[in-house]
């Protein structure tokens, strides 16, 4: 297609702006890492307390050589995926149930609000007593953190459905199941995916929290162990790995979002 000179200039300007933003985004992290390394190398900040990028790399190599690196990443990933899947399925089912039974939704409303505002880490000791210091407690902790917010977000999406569309479905004599599958779910896809994005972060927070409290493996455990033996390089490594893991998981949900959005919803 032939473009006018002005249009080519406009496209070039947009492209340059995009490249500039990417360079700036990358520069921030590079400058931060270099500055951090320089400050520790010249003893301007205490390397023992603040660690340094080179020490973190050395720790990662050491963990890799002792076959511990991927093991801890794997444990945290699996726990996160399990709690994410569970909280998504349970959250969607529970929100659907609340939409279906309005009276129950009204009865449970204050309890959901209380549970949502409660700092779940306070329940840590109770969970350990109930489920023991292990895998179950970690999943339960992650579920407590992510499930309530999933239910609330999805239910709010269901409740904000366009009244006219609901009226149309009723005028066409649709039953509740048809309203749910042909209107409620497809019109809430964006909201459900946004909830998944929140949910993946919440699950990772929950799993890390659980690992900090009870685990003997996983990235949360690495951080806790590092702080107990005052190995700040290990703590920072754990934090960095968690950061990378959460970014990868977030982008995986974004890819899922793109796949779902590109798909036609004619089957609904």
């Amino acid at each position: 297609m032939m473009y006018s000179k002005e249009h080519i200039l406009y496209l070039n300007k947009k492209k340059k702006e995009k490249i500039f933003i990417k360079i700036m985004q990358l520069s921030i992290i590079i400058i931060f890492i270099i500055l951090w390394q320089l400050l520790t190398s010249f003893n301007l900040i205490n390397r023992f307390i603040f660690s340094s990028p080179l020490d973190i790399i050395k720790t990662i190599i050491k963990l890799f050589k002792t076959n511990n690196l991927f093991h801890h990443i794997y444990i945290t990933t699996i726990e996160t995926i399990i709690s994410f899947t569970l909280s998504t399925i349970l959250g969607l089912l529970f929100a659907s149930f609340l939409w279906h039974k309005k009276t129950i939704s009204k009865i449970l409303d204050p309890y959901l609000t209380i549970l949502n505002s409660l700092p779940k880490v306070a329940l840590g000791p109770i969970i350990i007593i109930w489920c023991g210091a292990g895998f179950k407690s970690i999943i339960l902790m992650a579920l407590l953190i992510s499930l309530i917010i999933t239910i609330i977000n999805i239910y709010q999406g269901f409740e904000s459905i366009d009244n006219n569309k609901l009226k149309l479905m009723k005028a066409l004599k649709a039953n509740k199941k048809q309203i749910y599958f042909k209107l409620l779910i497809p019109s809430n896809i964006s909201n459900i995916i946004s909830t998944l994005k929140v949910n993946i972060s919440m699950s990772l927070i929950g799993v890390s929290m659980g690992e900090l409290l009870v685990s003997k493996e996983g990235l949360g455990y690495l951080i806790m162990y590092g702080s107990q033996v005052f190995n700040l390089h290990l703590v920072m490594t754990g934090v960095l790995l968690l950061c990378i893991l959460s970014t990868i998981m977030y982008y995986l949900v974004c890819i899922l979002e793109r796949i779902i959005k590109n798909k036609r919803f004619s089957q609904f």
Binding site: N164, K165, A174, P186, R264
Partner: protein, 249 residues
Amino acid sequence: MPKKILTVKNLKKNYHTDNDEIVALKDISFDLFEGEIISIVGPSGCGKSTILSIICGLENKTDGIINIENNKKVGYMLQSDCLFDWRCVFDNCMLGLEIQNKNTIENKKYVLELLNKYGLKDFINSKPSELSGGMRQRVALIRTLATKPDILLLDESFSALDYQSRINVSNDVYNILKDERKSAIIVTHDIAEAISISDRIIVLTKRPATIKKEHIINLTNKTNPINNRKCKEFNDYYDQIWKELDYDV
């Protein structure tokens, strides 16, 4: 003599709030005949749409009789087109049939025929966002017609459109209704639209609504809503109804 297909007799509707009981409709009675188009006009908030909602079964009546002859089917078209963004034009038109489990090849052909007949054949696979306001309303009307209703209820169906599209769409809808030999009750606040499209106009009072006046619209050279606006009786009807509504504003 056209056959009576709908009877509304002494219709009453009360709404209940925490502080009050609101009488929306006091005593509404009218009949609808086969092939007839009735418009209901009245002051804003007088309960025009409530009448349609009750006929359609979306709301319960407090008292009175709604009798639909031989269980004739009713189709309802709302103010907004309510097209589903995630469905293409064809799938939107099939919605009612899918819900009623009548997703047959014959019905699919019928929907395609309607789309073809009313100038939407090139947009069958388009998404609603790719259509103009007028085209969206036509798709919404085809979705309503697809279930083959005998009576159509149009609730301010053109009010969301700009003036020019509104006149064109009301003209299209009139032609579709007459082509398909449907009866219709149209709720509108536009007096000119009501005169140009209807065989009869029912003027309501303000809340609690009763029927203030019924006008049988006799226009010489009655053809379609655009031309009907040029008929010599048009302005007389307009003035009369305007005055009747003016008292209630």
